[in-house]
C-alpha cells in the first residue's frame, strides 16, 4: 500500500535526520536519567516508600523527556520550510502525522528503556517479573502521549513561545494518560494483588487510542494554510 510506503519514508527520514544530528535522542535520555537520578537520590534506595514512588518518578521523567523530544521534532522541519515542502507533494497530511508520531514514539521508547534500566539499577528493583504487562502499558501510554505531542508540536510551532505552548497544551490533556499509566504500572510492579492486570492495560490503551484517533483526524487542519 502506497500509504504505508509514505509513512515508512517519513519515519526513515526522521530517523536518518536524527542519526546525523544525534541531538534529540541524546538530550531526551540524559534529561530522563537526570530526573530519575534526582528522585532516587532524594529518597533512600531500596526503601518501600521510594518503590511506591517509582512508577510516578518514571512517568514524570518520560513526560518531560517526551516534551523535549516533541519540541525538537518540528524544529528540524522549520529550517528550510521542510514541513511546507512536504505539503507540496500530493500526500494526505494524516500520513505525515503517522510518520512523525511513530518517530516520536520510537525515540521516546528508546529513552524509556534507558530510564527503566537506570531505575532498575538505582532502585534495586527488577521489572522482569511483570515485563509483559509493563511493556504493554509502556507502549500504549507512550503511543497516546506521542500522538498528542505530535499534533501539539505542530500547533505550537506556529507560536512565539513554542516550548512553553507545547507544554501548556500537552500536560493538561495528557494528564490522565500519565495518571492511568502510573496507576497501572504501580499495580504491575506490586505483582497485581487484585489480579486485574487486564483492566489496567485496557484503561491506558483505551484512553490512548481515543487521543491518537482524535489527533490523527484533526492533524490536516493544523497543516492547512
Amino acid at each position: 500500500m502506497s500509504s504505508l510506503k509514505i509513512i515508512w519514508s517519513i519515519l526513515v527520514k526522521d530517523l536518518r535526520v536524527e542519526w546525523r544530528n544525534r541531538e534529540t535522542l541524546a538530550s531526551m535520555c540524559v534529561f530522563g536519567l537526570l530526573i530519575v537520578f534526582l528522585f532516587n537520590f532524594a529518597f533512600e534506595t531500596a526503601n518501600e516508600e521510594a518503590l511506591r514512588l517509582l512508577p510516578a518518578v518514571l512517568w514524570v521523567a518520560i513526560a518531560f523527556a517526551g516534551v523535549l523530544g516533541f519540541n525538537r521534532a518540528f524544529a528540524s522541519e522549520r529550517e528550510n520550510a521542510c514541513l511546507e515542502g512536504m505539503t507540496l507533494a500530493p500526500v494526505d497530511p494524516s500520513l505525515i502525522f503517522v510518520g512523525k508520531m511513530l518517530a516520536n514514539l520510537l525515540f521516546l521508547g528508546i529513552a524509556e528503556v534507558v530510564m527503566a534500566f537506570a531505575a532498575a539499577l538505582w532502585f534495586n528493583f527488577s521489572f522482569l517479573p511483570a515485563l509483559g504487562e509493563l511493556l504493554l502499558i509502556a507502549f500504549f501510554g507512550t503511543m497516546g502521549y506521542a500522538a498528542l505531542g505530535t499534533i501539539f508540536g505542530a500547533i505550537a510551532a506556529n507560536t512565539r513561545m513554542r516550548e512553553v505552548m507545547l507544554t501548556v497544551l500537552q500536560f493538561p490533556i495528557a494528564f490522565w494518560i500519565l495518571m492511568l499509566s502510573i496507576d497501572s504500572t504501580g499495580n504491575a510492579m506490586r505483582g497485581d494483588p487484585d489480579g486485574n492486570w487486564f483492566g489496567g492495560v485496557a484503561r491506558v490503551a483505551g484512553i490512548s487510542v481515543v487521543f491518537t484517533v482524535a489527533s490523527f483526524l484533526l492533524f490536516e487542519y493544523v497543516l492547512e494554510e
Binding site: S9, K13, E79, N80, E84, G85, L88, A89, P90, E225
Partner: protein, 242 residues
C-alpha cells in the same frame, strides 16, 4: 497516482483572488490562467504580491476570497492533481540540511509515489549538473548549489507546470545559462512555465507572456512584446541583448 493528463491539458487558474494579511491587501481581485505550452513572466516591484500569488498556486497560502482552480477543480477541495503536476521553487529550499542531495530527492520522490525513482533522481541531478555532488549534505552546499538542488527536487516528478519564484538567485553565470536553456525548452515540450525574476531582459528572453503585478493588482496580462512598458514603469534596454 495516475499520470498527468496531457491530453486534457488542464489549466491552472486564479479567479478573482484577494488576499489580506491583517489589514494589508497583498493581492486584489487577481485573475489569471496558465495553460500548457505557455511561458509567462511574473514581473513587478518588491512587495507587489508576486511571492504570495505563486505560493497560492501551490496551496502554500489560501486566498481570503476567490478561488484557485486546476483543471476546473478548486485545489482546496481537490488539490492532489494539482500538486502532482506542479514543480515549485522558492526562496526556501525545502531541503533537509542533515540529508545528502540524493537522500533529499529520494525522500521527495517517495512522497510523490514515483516509480523508477533512482533513474529519475539521476535524470534530475544531470539536468542541473549535481551528479558529482549527490552525496554532499544539503547544509554543506553553497547557496547557489542549494538552489540547483532545489531545482532538481522541483523537476524530479516531471511536472507539467513549472512555477519558479526568482529561480536565478544565487546561481553563477554558467548555471544561469543552463537554467535559461532548460526553461526555454519547456513550452515546446508541452509544459507550462510561470516565473518571476528581477532582471526584466532575462525574463523577456524566456517568456512569451507578461503578467505585470503592482500593489497586488494585475496591471497587464498578455503577450510580452505588446506590453505598454512605459505605463508599467518598465525600462527596456535599447538594441539586442547578447
Amino acid at each position: 497516482m495516475p499520470p498527468q493528463d496531457h491530453i486534457a491539458k488542464p489549466v491552472l487558474e486564479v479567479r478573482n483572488v484577494t488576499k489580506f494579511f491583517g489589514d494589508l491587501a497583498a493581492l486584489k481581485e487577481v485573475s489569471l490562467g496558465l495553460a500548457c505550452g505557455e511561458s509567462a513572466l511574473l514581473y513587478g516591484p518588491n512587495g507587489a504580491g508576486k511571492t504570495t500569488l505563486l505560493r497560492m498556486l501551490v496551496s502554500l497560502a489560501r486566498p481570503s476570497s476567490g478561488e484557485v482552480l486546476f483543471g476546473g477543480r478548486n485545489i482546496e477541495r481537490d488539490g492532489a492533481g494539482a500538486k502532482a503536476a506542479i514543480g515549485f521553487v522558492s526562496h526556501a529550499t525545502f531541503l533537509y540540511g542533515e540529508l545528502t542531495v540524493r537522500e533529499n530527492l529520494k525522500f521527495f520522490g517517495s512522497l510523490f509515489g514515483l516509480s523508477d525513482l533512482e533513474k529519475k533522481i539521476d535524470a534530475a541531478l544531470e539536468l542541473f549538473d549535481m551528479r558529482s555532488r549527490e552525496g554532499v549534505f544539503a547544509r554543506d552546499l553553497s547557496r547557489g548549489l542549494q538552489q540547483r538542488a532545489s531545482l532538481a527536487r522541483a523537476f524530479l516528478h516531471d511536472p507539467s507546470f513549472v512555477i519558479l519564484d526568482e529561480p536565478f538567485t544565487g546561481l553563477d553565470s554558467q548555471s544561469v545559462k543552463q537554467l535559461e536553456d532548460l526553461l526555454r525548452r519547456l513550452p515546446e515540450q508541452g509544459k507550462a512555465l510561470l516565473f518571476s525574476t528581477h532582471d526584466f531582459e532575462q525574463g523577456a528572453a524566456l517568456a512569451g507572456r507578461l503578467i505585470a503585478l503592482k500593489a497586488g493588482r494585475v496591471r497587464y496580462n498578455g503577450p510580452l512584446d505588446a506590453a505598454p512598458f512605459g505605463s508599467l514603469g518598465i525600462v527596456r534596454a535599447a538594441g539586442p541583448k547578447n
